[in-house]
Amino acid sequence: MFSTAPRRSVRRVALATATTLTLGFALAACSSGSSGSSDSGSEADIEAALEAGGTLTYWSWTPSGEAQVAAFEEAYPNVDVELVNAGTNTEEYTKLQNAITAGSGAPDVAQVEYYAIPQFALSDSLVDLSSYGFGDLEDQYSAGPWSSVAFDGKIYGLPQDSGPMAMFYNKTVFDQYGIAVPTTYDEYVAAAEQLHAANPNAYITAENGDAGFTTSMIWQAGGQPFTTDGTNITIDLQDEGSKTWADSWNRLVEGDLLSSTPSWSDEWYRGLGDGSIATLLTGAWMPGVLESSVPDGSGDWRVAPMPTYDGTPVTAENGGGGQVVLKQSENQALAAGFVKWLNSDPASISVFLESGGFPATTADLESPDFLAQTPEYFGGQAINEVLVDASKNVPTGWHYLPYQVYANSIVPDTVGQSYESNSDLNAGLQDWQDQLVEYGNQQGFTVNK
């Protein structure tokens, strides 16, 4: 571990990071140690705890949460899990961070997306699950998600889902304008030009500076802009990969070839249904969303591998997360048992799959049943073959910042401005970097020094 001084400052950072979202800096100053009990326990403790029973609070917004908890309580009748939807992604992180700062009120188990895990891990708020024998579970998960929960020699949670990126495209629109499915970004830009020329209301995709998209695209291009070593951080959003992405994507930004519709807005869903947004470069969990929320697009959409820069298949993870155990938990062994069941027991995973989720467990990714699925929505295409294939082409070595929640929150103000003014993305990335360096240094990290 770190020596006392830097550790305290690091804790302050992570606190300040999330709290700026609503609480501002006031909380960071009064951070009290949240570490309750120590990280000790064993596999046997889990079994004993599950047998003895008890009460757990579980924060999650995942659609499968309710059914999974019901199934768990049936398997372990002595355990009572209270499922709380404390908000979707950042909303939950803010509440979680507040509870950690306050020293009470945090749940035993929480759903946290991969990009936010380092933040909570570094602020010493999560239980290291290695001693419960979670290291043995590594083989069950695909490499990308596993490296997102297990780093710095500790295991902070178990992956629930994954989001290897693929290109979702509206085949009806492509056919209508005689556009070939792009396999490289050069072809992708050409398709964008062709489509927009043929129909001025239609765009190849909608993008205006989504943080997750930005980091995933850099990841795919081979960039590693964030490096953390203890409290020393290096940020280089002009490394080779970042530039590769920015230079290529610039042609769409500067050419005004992207719809500015904000992701996840009603207009965006509308665009996915009526063909005015023709492709989506996003995580493998998207089919579930399309099927349940874009009924108009049924039969139109297909899945293809991500376009590449040089023809070598490569993609990145986008979205997805897992469950972690909070140090505030008074029954950490039981909480660990719940997390283990949730993300490795077949009963739980089948509930998860039914809800349209994309798994992180290799057994399920490679099961013939899963691969053979041919959903009507996608015109009978065996989409999982494409998506599972993508999960094998994720470059390793990607890291998020220990204050990524804050970092993501300022992307619209920096990178987003390039989209807004149809100007060079590199300038937006540089601006983002400058702000991240300044913020990190203010918070007690040593950034780019």
Binding site: T88, E113, D161, D266, G273, G357
Partner: protein
Amino acid sequence: MSAVTSPKRPAFARGTKPTHKARQRKSIVLTIVMAIFVIYSVVPLVWLIVNASKDQADLFSSFGLWFGKDFNLFQNIYETLTYRDGIFVQWFGNTLLYVVVGAGGATLLATIAGYGLAKYNFPGRRAVFAVVLGAVAIPGTALAVPTFLMFSQLGLTNTPWAVILPSLISPFGLYLIWTYATDAVPTEILEAARMDGASEFRTFFTISLRLLAPGIVTVLLFAVVATWNNYFLPLIMLSEPTWYPLTVGLSQWSAQATGVGAQPIFNLVITGALLTIVPIVIAFLILQRYWQSGLSAGSVKQ
């Protein structure tokens, strides 16, 4: 109110007909300004009503300011009220609880304190005056963080008290009652009552309270609106959805449309928003005349 407009009246009242020309010249500009304001404030409301009648598919495919293929208002209302085992009804009940206890209590405290400060002389009155005036200037948002930390140490976060207790404090209401009481309750009446042997409490409840009624209703309205719309405080205080008020609940429904496992329910968010404003609109329509008289309270010296 009448005191403000009366000085101008004699000019018009003299002739049998009002001077038509002068009036019209004035009203053209005013009418245009009014019309712009009306459009500005009514269009979002119209949008809300129109779109509350659409199901999600219609929302995505029809023009925003006109009705869609089907009229689904009642279906939407039904779904809003029953979604996730009727959590919306629970939020509605929570909001009512916060409004009744919080805004009601705030009004009661503001009335008692404001009246006391207006009608009794005691040492430190000026200091209290300065503190209250200063408190009016501090936005509640600025106090949310310290309040949160304090409440979490007291173990009150995630309970209804976390929302109700801060709502009980209304410096602005206190100030309003204070100025209102100074004018509306003549000291002579109080003296007369004292001469007749009425206790101070009796004087307050039988005489002063009635004289203060318009002011109290105004404060009540302010407090009700503030509590009904309260968002930030419950957002940071509560993590348990079963204690959410409508504002925080609706925002959670709205956020549900994002990210992995997104479940957009825009039609329910819109219908929920419509249902949320109905009570407050009714309260306004019924009590608006008090609101007006309260706003001008103390503005004219009698």
